[in-house]
């Protein structure tokens, strides 16, 4: 599974980081980014939770 955070949609709610800090980081201004190239299978459920909890619909699953 590969993920992408749309920087134009992300407003820094940081829900993704709260749910899956192994997959996401958030900078000093709140902008989230994906820190893994490929989400390991054991973290895929966490990744889907992050997608489902983003209030800005900013996280996309681009493959997998």
């Amino acid at each position: 599974m590969k993920l992408r955070v749309d920087p134009d949609k992300c407003q820094g709610h940081a829900r993704c980081y709260g749910l899956a800090p192994e997959i996401f980081d958030v900078d000093d201004y709140g902008l989230a980014s994906v820190i893994v190239d490929e989400v390991p299978p054991e973290l895929e459920e966490k990744a889907r939770l992050a997608v489902a909890n983003c209030p800005e619909y900013a996280i996309e699953i681009i493959s997998g």
């Binding site: 407003q11 820094g12 709610h13 940081a14 829900r15 980081y17 709260g18 749910l19 958030v26 900078d27 000093d28 201004y29 709140g30 939770l49 489902a52 909890n53 983003c54 209030p55 800005e56 619909y57």
Partner: protein
Amino acid sequence: MTHTAPVTDWATDFDVLDPQYVADPFSIWDDLRRTCPVAHTNRRKSSWLPTRYEDVTAIAHDIEHFSSLKIAVIPGDEDEDPNADFDGPDLQYGLPPISSDPPLHTWTRRLLLPWFSHKRVDGYVPLTRDLCTKLLDGFADSGHADAAADYAQQIPVRVIAHILGVSPDLSDTFTGWVRDVLEFADDAERRQRGAEGLLNYFVGQLEERRANPGDDLLSELLTTKVDGAPVDDGIVLGMAALALIAGVDTTWSAIGSSLWHLATHPEDRKRLVAEPELMPTAIEELLRAYSPVTMAREVTEDVIYAGCPMKAGDKVLMNFPAANRDPEAFEHPEVVQLDRAHNRHVAFGSGIHRCAGSNLARMELQVALEEWLARIPDFSLAEGAEVTWAGGQVRGPRICPVVF
């Protein structure tokens, strides 16, 4: 104080300060969502009240038609002629970034955000935990407390005072000013007294910080440069006042509502004690179910939204709390499900004005509940207790007597 008649028609004549709305807004929103999802009133001034998740978030994102220059839910000085008696500094730019649109919003927000980043907020945890412990020391052995006044109210004001670098000894005074401005905004005299107290205090603090800068937020705002120039004094003052106002009533209300919920829902209280790992998910659910904050927007030009003829100058109340109770967006929204896995709540708003202090608020709420439950795992509302709620811009319990 504006005395108004009780509301009989919520669709065309709503009043967010009506006692029925303050006590139980949920059933009013549910009715409106079914019958008239964007309600209207001419009380105080022409204002609209959306109740659906889809509408509230769409309006929050449409900054072209819905400006943040006027964000008070209860129209006050900002909507009247400047009050000749006001004995405080002129806030030409209001309280940026919350009361601003881009471009002022963009750069003032960037100055504030690092102070409330995850990393910075992690650093405020020991202070917050220590504060909660000391408060609990004061009443844990007595068998009773006011969860709102003795505990919830005391926490956020002291943390934000630390961040601003102002004296926590003045916490009660700060709390009084903020309540005057937000909760009693319908009382012009009280609102003015709160604003004067708060602004004049910060004028003095900024003078002191200019002479003796520290490593606090106020000092940084005074010394930072934006595009090579220092920040205008009025903007620094507005940002300082905002940090205090936004950091007090809001989180205190969230902590108070959460404790009220646990005091009245023993199954949830027991579950949270037994499954502490559930806490982060439970925090989001409590924020969803008891979202404290409603903001306002001003319509910039005549527009028809969801069939409603909105006029330039009208207000729209950004009803994030009602959006978070919309059955189109949440399954069984009326039920608090501490393990709710899918929860795109907008308690901290939506779009470019997402609460800049959301990381701090979450941390304070979590630490406050963890410390309370560790010390007082078994508690309930006192028999015959009369819980009082504040409403309007910020909703939360102000008196909440519990026994344990």
